[in-house]
Amino acid sequence: MEFDKELDARGLNCPLPILRCKKGLAEIENGQVLKVMTTDPGAIKDFQAFCKQTGHELLSMEQSESETVFHIRKRAA
């Protein structure tokens, strides 16, 4: 999947992946896509909850054995 910015949050634990993601989203334009790589098992639920509450769009979530990769589209405004 295409993205505009990549964020490596592997090895970080709650709430750091969310805090970094928030920062990453602040650095891209509305409508652009942020890719976030995580290893925190709690991130799966947390990123869904984050997107639901903030209005950013969770485009995809790919789980492999030890990592989960998220693609998030920054909300329009």
Binding site: P15, L16, L19, K22, T39, F50
Partner: protein
């Protein structure tokens, strides 16, 4: 309008330093407006240097220990430092943020940190003991924000 979170942080140990800063920084990331009111031992969390926060296993039967340890052993001098060292090592190993980092994240995201003026006076703390960017206030100051908050927690 943004949701609001009001926290009271009343404890000053390493373990209890986490909940207020984790919740506040996360709420800020979720676009909440956040205030933390630091009172009594919680004031310790506003000191410039928080590297000496400690955790004590003494009188805390819920704390996971590598080997069972009676209170009588835990009260031996040096045990608290050892427990703190082990906790800090675990925190680093598991990629958990430091208190310094979480506090910085709070400040950066606009979380308002308020020191309880009464307990500052009670403990003879000086304004210069604390980090920059905090405010001082009393119970009424807390309620001004807490009264219109969506979530209020005492920690």
């Amino acid at each position: 309008m943004a949701k609001k979170l009001a926290l009271i942080a009343s404890k000053g140990t390493l373990d209890w330093a986490y909940p207020p800063f984790i919740l506040a920084s996360t709420a800020a990331a979720l676009d909440y407006e956040v205030q933390i009111f630091f009172t009594f031992y919680g004031l310790t969390l506003l000191k410039k240097d928080v590297s000496d926060l400690k955790v004590s296993p003494l009188g805390n039967p819920g704390m996971p220990m590598p080997v069972p340890m009676p209170n009588l052993v835990q009260m031996i001098p040096g045990m608290e430092s050892m427990a703190t060292m082990m906790m800090k090592q675990k925190i680093a190993d598991k990629g958990v943020a430091s208190i310094e980092d979480l506090r910085a994240a709070c400040l950066e995201s606009g979380v308002k940190l308020i020191a309880c003026q009464m307990t500052v006076d009670l403990f003879d703390f000086k304004p210069e003991d604390f980090i920059e960017g905090i405010e001082f206030g009393g119970a009424a100051t807390f309620f001004e924000f807490a009264g219109e908050s969506d979530v209020n927690l005492f920690i």
